[in-house]
Amino acid sequence: MSALFEQFVLESRELLEAAGAALLRLERDPGDTIAVNDLFRALHTLKGATALFDMAPFTRMVHAGEDALMAVRDGRVAMTGELADRLLELLDTGAAWVDGLELSQSLPDDADARARAQEAGLRAALGGPVESADGGTPTGFAWVGELPEAERAKAAGRTVTAIAYDPAEDCFFAGDDPLDLCRRIPDLLLLRIESARAWPPLTNLDPYRCTLRFRALSGAPKDELTRLFRGVPDQVLLASVAIPALAAEPAPLAAPDSLATAMLREQARILGLPGSHDETAARRAAVLRAVRNILAAEGRNAEGAALELAAEGPTDALIRCIETLADGPAVVAPSAPAVPASQARRALRVDAERMDRLMALVAELVVAKGSLPYLARQAQEGHSADALAQGIKEAHGRIDSIVGELQDAVLRLRLLPLSRVFDPLTRLVRDTARRLGKPVELHLSGGETEADKDILDILGEPLLHLVRNGLDHGIEPPERRRAAGKPEVAALRVQAFQDSGGVVVEVSDDGAGIDAAAVRRKAVATGALTAEQAAALTEAEALRLIFLPGLSTSDSVSDLSGRGVGMDAVRGAVERAGGRVEVSSTPGVGTRFRLVLPLTMMVTRMVTVETAGALYGFPVTLVTGMQRIPHGAIRRMKHAESVVVQDAVVPLLRLRRLLNLPEDERERSGEAVLLVDLGGQPVALVVDALQERADVVLKPMTGLLARLRGYAGTAVLGDGRLLLALNLRELL
């Protein structure tokens, strides 16, 4: 006997004893929650231990006990004497098996049948069919467990949907063709056709009476099958069941490659998980280290550089980088047949064409460059200024047109199809809908629409959020939809298209809609508005209140959409990209969010300063330094002030004066000064306070503001504050 097995025998005895003691306490006092928990934990640990060895009946039996206790713990059933009897019996069986295991290291031959009997007994004691947890075999589906291995093979190791379809005898008269229905089962893994009774002689057969029974396994989710069988809900039973892997299956060593790929993908997914700032920061650190290690283990250190680069950037970029790493080592031989078509296409098809064009333009540029040395020689040799000017003009013209095309080509290189952000939605919707128990059909369209890579990076999270939000708060539970006369399967639409100069992404659901009155009330309750202000809003304006921080219309806080932090984040992200969000909703009919984004965006890095309560920005490229200067260091000559910086006398200007703002009367020992380079002319600018740098998307001033001199544009910062970008040269 191996040391490990010995250990198991010892531990399971202890656990069974602990469970027995807890059970007796529980029987004396059915309200003893500590006893329930002790019992539950003992069984849970025992289950884990049995799972280490090949003793499925033992694991299954303990699992059934655990399920029963879960029901007790959750208050779904009471601890009755009968249930206690059953559980004690289960413990006794377990103890007997452990004794046998110590001797023969195997379970008795009848273990499977005994386990089943225990399961059945427990179920009966719980008073009827219990909604089975994943892993157990739900009532009415015993046949799944009894399938011969050959038939189970296709489904082995998967969680599948089991279908028991007993058509009504008169179903043909209703126009049903059960066999045809079975033909339409997606991802059909098994179909058994059985006769309910022995066949009569052909002459006595009533061909219009259906006596066939169908048993099937499908890889499709239960919801999808519920939809397929929606015409015969009374004749069909559906259940998700986990089919154990075949014992005879040659245990394939998980190829390290595939595990690495799966792990990398998971790391990318972890980065996208919601959480507080600290949580996401910690996850990011752990993910980065994990990915670095995976690359090292795979001997792919060379790709670490790409990772480190992406690690400096926003989360979306990092996610995409890790996904790319998961797709496989960077160098893929073009002839490698193993690369699935879709991946190969993503990496090569579009980009290769555009890359070719780029290469062609670079070649043209090289040729155009060749004319410059020739012109230089001409100048040296003293050719006439006119002839030289002509030559330079021609060269300039050629280079100019190539550079223009290059710019365009580079821009196109950055255009990616929106399917990149749409693709993850399918899985998200499926998983979330299942978790929430809301059947939902996702309609995606316009995935081929292209947008700048940066726009996609920004779009990802708001889109996920809107979709989650729609599932969580928008779409009603099936009962409510039924009551409202709506189709039980909700529709969630995500579509994209190009509008004049921008990309539009719409997320709409046919759910309950947003109650504008409730939003108003909430806004008043949170103090965002007074009752009068709220009442004065139009419906459309009231709906927009959901974009305010901290306003969520749903009172229930779910783990999906968080606590109303979402909508203002959505708005923030979209506005930072220079876009806008619109919302429209009709109570009872549905809600539509519309994100309008520019095709491309120019990100400008700004140094931000605070002055007289407002934020101003200067392009980082103009700022040469920042420092605090004591009052004593400022020299005054009449009205002009100056300061010595790095041995040079630099004029000192005050931003408040430049902007005609009142003087800063506050007591202070020195001034916060920004050193700005105005085309070779250094200037020291006094501001109220220096702030951090920020990457912003500048929007030009519109309307009356456009005529104001000195302003380069506005931008919305990450925290929602408005930044005014200044054009200092114009202010002087």
Partner: protein
């Protein structure tokens, strides 16, 4: 990363089942890892803080402090926030996996884990080049 000076990566196994710990130790030590054990979340936190392992393998359902809580607490520690972590549980539901990842795990295994999978995962997450 493979560390020449200290070639054996250290794994901290946190599980309240002694058999599981013994099993994991056996599997990992045979593959060249150094294994440390802790019997519950609190014990695990203490061990982790004291020794800063290269990898954590954490059970979920444990007395005193469960795996989720332990991992969350650990992720708040500057020295431990980036230590790769694998969670292992008997629960096979997608929501369990999600909960583990939310708590800070990098990977999730459903018990029982095949030795080859466990060592492969440990190698990847500690950055040891595989033998194959």
């Amino acid at each position: 990363m493979t560390d020449r000076a200290n070639p054996k990566p250290r794994v901290l196994v946190v599980d309240d089942a002694v058999t599981v710990r013994a099993y994991t130790r056996q599997v990992l030590e045979a593959d060249g890892f150094r294994v440390d054990e802790a019997v519950n979340g609190i014990d695990g936190l203490e061990h982790a803080l004291a020794s800063t392992p290269d990898l954590l393998i954490v059970d979920i359902n444990m007395q005193k402090m469960d795996g989720y809580t332990m991992l969350r607490r650990l992720r708040q520690e500057q020295t431990l926030r980036d230590v790769p972590a694998i969670m292992i549980s008997t629960e096979s539901k997608a929501s369990d996996r999600e909960k583990a990842l939310l708590a800070g795990a990098n990977w999730y295994f459903v018990k029982p884990v095949r030795p080859a999978d466990l060592t492969a995962a440990a190698r990847l997450l500690t950055g040891c080049e595989g033998r194959s």
